[in-house]
C-alpha cells in the first residue's frame, strides 16, 4: 500500500481510530460502557450542531426566496444567530397553563427529543461508523419513529387547549397515514438487499461498475421508491407543504401552542432531528449511505459524503418550503391513500419483476413503464372532473 493510500485510509477512519485510542487508556471492564457514551456524545454534538446550522441556513434561504435578508445582525452575516436563539430560549420564562396536566406536559418534549435521537443508533454515518449494527436495524428505526406520535399526543392533550388538541389530532392522523407509504417505499430496498441491517444495505451499494456506483436510486423501482419515501418523509416530519399540524396561520403552531422557553426549543430540536434522521435513512436506503458518487472520488472520507448528501436533502427541503403552499386536510389524506399507497404497492410488484428478469435493456424498459404509466394514469385519474381555477375569496376582495 502506498503512503498516500494509507493516509486517506487513516483520514477516513480518524474518528474510529481516535475512539479506539481513547478507550485503550481505560480498564477493559469499563470499555463497552464508555464506548457507548462516546458514540452517543458524538452523535448528539454532531447533529445538534447541524441543527443550529440548519436553522440559520433555513432562515437565510427563505429570506432570499422572499426578497429579504434574513438574520444578519448577530456576528458576521448573522452567523451567531443560533447561539443567540439558544440563549434566548434558555432565559425565557417557562409558562405552563394552569389547567394543564403538569407531569405529561413536562414529559412530552423529553420523549420527543429522546425518540428522535434514538434513530441515529442504526444510521451508518461513515465506513465502520455505526453505533449498533443490528440485524433488524431498519425495523428498529421505524419502531422508534412510532414513539414520536405518542409524544405529540401527550403534548397536545396535556395542554388542555383546543388549538393544541386540534394540532395533535391532525399530526397523529397525518403521521399514521404517511407511515404506511414510508414503510412500504423502503420495503423495496429490503427485498433487493435481502437484509434489514443498515450496514449490509450500504455495503451492497458501495460497489462500482466503471465509475458508476450501484446506488438503488439508479434503478426504476429505486427512483420511484426514493421519490415516494421523500414525499412521505416530508409529511412525517411535518414540513411544508404538509405542515398542517403546525399551521401558524390557522392553529398557531398546533400541538406546541402552550409551550414556551426551552420546552418550545426542545420541540423545535426534536422536529429537525427527526427530519435529519429520516433523511439519513433515505440516504442509507437509496443514495448509497456513505459511499462516494464516483469511483474516483473514494479517497474523500466517507463521513464527508454522508453529510454532503444530508445537507443537499436539507437544502431541497428548504427550497420546497419556500415554494409550495400548504395543503388542505382532505388533499393531504387523498394524496396519502389514493396516490402514495397504490404507487408503493405497484412499486413492490415492479421490484419483484426486476429481481426475476435477466439483467439487460429489456428489464429497464419493462420496469420503467411499470412505474411511469401508472403514475401518469393515477395522477390524471385523480385530476378527472376536478376544476382548477383561480380561487376567489369572499372577504379579501
Amino acid at each position: 500500500m502506498t503512503h498516500l493510500a494509507l493516509m486517506t485510509q487513516h483520514l477516513d477512519q480518524i474518528f474510529v481510530l481516535t475512539s479506539h485510542w481513547l478507550l485503550s487508556y481505560l480498564p477493559i471492564a469499563l470499555q463497552p460502557l464508555c464506548s457507548a457514551i462516546l458514540s452517543v456524545a458524538a452523535i448528539i454534538i454532531a447533529f445538534a450542531t447541524l441543527f443550529a446550522l440548519t436553522t440559520l441556513l433555513e432562515r437565510k434561504g427563505l429570506g432570499r426566496m422572499q426578497n429579504r435578508y434574513g438574520p444578519n445582525r448577530v456576528g458576521p452575516c448573522g452567523l451567531f444567530q443560533p447561539l443567540a436563539d439558544g440563549v434566548k430560549s434558555l432565559t425565557k420564562e417557562d409558562i405552563v397553563p394552569i389547567r394543564a396536566d403538569r407531569a405529561v406536559h413536562f414529559m412530552a418534549p423529553v420523549l420527543l427529543v429522546a425518540a428522535s435521537f434514538m434513530g441515529y443508533a442504526v444510521l451508518p454515518i461513515g465506513r465502520n461508523m455505526v453505533m449498533v449494527d443490528m440485524n433488524a436495524g431498519v425495523l428498529f428505526f421505524f419502531a422508534i419513529g412510532s414513539l414520536m406520535e405518542l409524544a405529540v399526543f401527550m403534548a397536545g392533550w396535556s395542554s388542555r387547549s383546543k388549538y393544541s388538541l386540534l394540532g395533535a389530532m391532525r399530526a397523529i392522523a397525518q403521521m399514521i397515514s404517511y407511515e404506511v407509504p414510508l414503510v412500504l417505499a423502503s420495503v423495496v430496498v429490503l427485498m433487493q438487499a435481502g437484509s434489514l441491517s443498515t450496514v449490509a444495505i450500504v455495503n451492497m451499494q458501495a460497489t462500482y461498475s466503471g465509475i458508476w456506483p450501484h446506488w438503488f436510486v439508479f434503478t426504476p423501482w429505486g427512483f420511484a421508491g426514493f421519490a415516494l419515501f421523500m414525499i412521505a418523509a416530508t409529511a412525517e416530519s411535518n414540513r411544508s407543504p404538509f405542515d398542517l399540524p403546525e399551521g401558524e396561520s390557522e392553529i398557531i403552531a398546533g400541538y406546541y401552542t402552550e409551550y414556551s422557553g426551552f420546552k418550545f426549543a426542545l420541540f423545535f430540536l426534536g422536529e429537525y432531528i427527526g427530519m435529519f434522521a429520516t433523511s439519513g435513512m433515505a440516504i442509507t436506503l437509496f443514495l448509497g449511505g456513505w459511499s462516494a458518487p464516483f469511483s474516483f472520488l473514494t479517497w474523500i472520507p466517507s463521513y464527508f459524503w454522508f453529510f454532503a448528501k444530508l445537507l443537499t436533502i436539507i437544502s431541497v427541503f428548504i427550497w420546497i418550503r419556500g415554494t409550495l403552499p400548504r395543503l388542505r386536510m382532505d388533499q393531504l389524506m387523498n394524496l396519502a391513500w389514493q396516490f402514495m399507497l397504490p404507487m408503493t404497492l405497484l412499486n413492490l410488484l415492479t421490484t419483484g419483476i426486476w429481481h426475476f428478469m435477466l439483467p439487460g435493456f429489456l428489464r429497464w424498459i419493462v420496469c420503467s413503464t411499470m412505474v411511469i404509466v401508472p403514475c401518469i394514469l393515477l395522477g390524471s385519474g385523480l385530476k378527472y372532473k376536478k376544476k382548477f381555477q383561480i380561487r376567489t375569496y369572499h372577504f379579501s376582495q
Binding site: N135, S146, L150, W157, L165
Partner: protein, 166 residues
C-alpha cells in the same frame, strides 16, 4: 436474574400497575404504553429483536394511540376521572390472584422449567423471514386476506355513515 432483567421487570410491573391504579383514563393508557415498552425490552434482552421491535411498533405505536383516541373521542373532560368502587376492586384482586396462582403452578410444574440452562436459540430476522415465506406462507396469506377484509369492512362502515348524514 441479572440487573438489567430486574430493572426491566420493575419498569414493566410498575407501568402495568399504574395503568390499573391511576384515576385518569389517559394517564392509564400512557402507563400501559410504558408497560408495553418494558415487555419489548424484555424480548430484546432475550435476543428476539424482531419480536421486540414489532412489539414497540404495534403496541406502543398503534394500540396505545388507538386507545387514547378512543378515550378522547368518547369521554368529555369531566367523565375522564374513573369512578372508584371497592367491590369491583376486591373482585378484581381475587380474579388476578387466582389467575396468577394457576399460571405460576403451571409454569413451576411444567417440564420446561426443569431445564436449568435452556440452549440459547438464535432467532435472527432472516430465519423468521424464511419461516414465514416457506413453511408458514399459507397462514400468512390467510391472515393477510383476513386483515384486508377487515380493512375494507371498516372503510365500508365509515362510508355508509356519511351517506346517512347527507
Amino acid at each position: 436474574m441479572t440487573t438489567s432483567f430486574m430493572i426491566l421487570a420493575v419498569l414493566t410491573v410498575a407501568g402495568t400497575a399504574a395503568a390499573m391504579g391511576l384515576r385518569n383514563a389517559v394517564h392509564c393508557v400512557l402507563a400501559l404504553a410504558l408497560g408495553f415498552a418494558g415487555i419489548a425490552m424484555l424480548y430484546l434482552q432475550l435476543g428476539a429483536q424482531f419480536v421486540g421491535f414489532t412489539q414497540i411498533l404495534v403496541y406502543v405505536g398503534a394500540v396505545a394511540i388507538l386507545a387514547v383516541f378512543a378515550i378522547m373521542m368518547t369521554h368529555n373532560d369531566k367523565s375522564m376521572a374513573l369512578p372508584d368502587s371497592h367491590s369491583a376492586w376486591v373482585a378484581g384482586c381475587i380474579v388476578a390472584v387466582a389467575v396468577f396462582a394457576v399460571l405460576a403452578r403451571a409454569i413451576v410444574s411444567s417440564s420446561a422449567s426443569a431445564q436449568t440452562q435452556p440452549p440459547q436459540p438464535a432467532a435472527t430476522v432472516q430465519q423468521i423471514g424464511n419461516a414465514l415465506m416457506h413453511r408458514f406462507v399459507m397462514p400468512l396469506e390467510i391472515m393477510g386476506l383476513l386483515l384486508t377484509a377487515a380493512l375494507i369492512g371498516a372503510v365500508v362502515i365509515a362510508m355508509d355513515r356519511r351517506e346517512e348524514m347527507k
